[in-house]
């Protein structure tokens, strides 16, 4: 399977910043990070013998951008007509789209297959319909998942005629191909993410949030200024992609602003600190290889 081969040879699909946890302070300067980001591979730091932590920084303004009028989207990774060979995936995280849809507009009936598709509304309401008979509304605080598997057709529209809808759409390569298609959604108590990392997705149907066909865990947290928290990875071979929804953070010692993304792999724990009031972050822990 070609994608597995390519994931094995380059688990981030783009340039890697390498550093030991002890030397994170060397990578704190954003200008320096931007400069390094453009490089394909960074060699291990000379003289370092401890295991390396890999960082992958995507500044918000470096994302692909499309404006169709009714739809405006920022693509962290290559998607549709945005093709950047350096921006293909982070482990099994293949799509991270930051979408704005005009009132009453949306995506007509279209197919999906073999992908775990997660939608997280940030503002407004989305109306979903699919060929399995599901008709549903998702709103801020909800999370929706489709295991597309052998094939699913669906549509999604901004339900409201007087308000924009903003949402994140995230695609993960599935753990197993050709599973039976499945739709699910969950309403979460957003108060539970106040100064806390609230789990919104996992591989386990008995765990908090929705479940998917992949060894992935998603958390959202909304924090007071200066609040500090650690995230312990569920699986040591996984990586974490942090996406700042709102405000500013220091994550693993790296400064991030609104809509910046940071992939971190080869570590067991990640430290976060909010640098603004009501700062909100999405953490996506994902396998770095497929299968």
């Amino acid at each position: 399977m070609k994608i597995k081969h390519s994931l094995k040879k380059d688990t981030t699909g783009t340039g890697i910043l390498s550093a030991t946890s002890e030397s994170n302070n060397l990578l704190n300067n954003n200008d320096e990070l931007k400069k390094i980001e453009a490089m394909r591979h960074i060699p291990n730091m000379e003289g370092v013998t401890t295991p390396e932590v890999n960082f992958l920084l995507h500044k918000a303004n470096s994302r692909g951008h499309v404006d169709h009028g009714w739809l405006e989207s920022y693509h962290t990774f290559s998607f549709a007509n945005y093709y950047n060979p350096e921006r293909m995936h982070f482990g099994v995280l293949r799509v991270l789209n930051d979408d704005r849809v005009d009132p009453g507009k949306g995506f007509g009936r279209h197919p999906h297959d073999n992908m775990e598709i997660i939608s997280i509304p940030l503002e407004g309401d989305l109306k979903h319909e699919d060929n399995m008979g599901n008709i549903a509304i998702i709103k801020h605080g909800d999370i929706q998942v489709m295991s597309a598997g052998t094939g699913i057709f669906h549509s999604e529209y901004n339900k409201n005629e007087d308000q924009q809808a903003k949402f994140l759409q995230i695609w993960l390569f599935p753990r197993t191909k050709n599973v039976a298609p499945r739709y699910d959604q969950a309403s979460l108590n957003i108060n539970d993410r106040r100064n806390n990392l609230q789990q919104i997705l996992s591989p386990d149907s008995n765990d908090a949030g929705v479940w998917i066909n992949q060894d992935a865990w998603f958390h959202i947290g909304q924090f007071d200024n200066d609040f500090k928290i650690d995230y312990n990875l569920k699986k040591s071979t996984n990586g974490v992609y942090a996406f700042v929804i709102k405000g500013n953070f220091s994550i693993a010692g790296i400064e991030l602003n609104q809509r910046d993304g940071l992939g971190i792999s080869n570590t067991k724990k990640i430290s976060l600190k909010a640098n603004s009031a009501d700062a909100e972050v999405l953490l996506m822990e994902v396998p770095m290889t497929l299968g």
């Binding site: 070609k2 279209h110 999906h112 297959d113 094939g151 191909k177 050709n178 299968g291």
Partner: protein
């Protein structure tokens, strides 16, 4: 000259969608089938730059197809299409066409 693409899948409506999307690109031309035997007949008759495997193909069938294609034409590129629509299709094709083929034996097929 248009790049020639063979698409194989098991879901008729998704296959038609993928073919329509590929053929909308003036630099690409796609043929598609739901049947492995027909895929082999088409493969033997025409010259393809890329073979795209879409959904529903069993591991056994996928392995057999990969072995047949690479045995007959080691340089042909074979990739799995994910997502079922326009989201990843263009980038998958562009990436595949920019890379040398990888032999079937070197793939780690799930």
């Amino acid at each position: 000259m248009k790049k020639q693409i063979l698409v194989i899948g098991r879901h008729g409506e998704i296959l038609q969608t993928v073919l329509r999307l590929i053929n909308a690109n003036e630099q690409w031309e796609a043929k598609g089938t739901l049947e492995d035997a027909e895929a082999i007949r088409i493969f033997d008759r025409f010259s393809f730059d890329l073979i795209l495997l879409t959904n529903g193909i069993s591991e056994h069938c996928e392995n057999s197809l990969r072995l047949y294609f690479t045995d007959k034409r080691p340089t042909v590129n074979i990739v799995q299409h994910y997502g079922g629509g326009s989201g990843l299709l263009t980038t998958e094709i562009l990436q595949a066409l920019s890379e040398p083929a990888v032999s079937a034996s070197s793939h780690q097929i799930k």
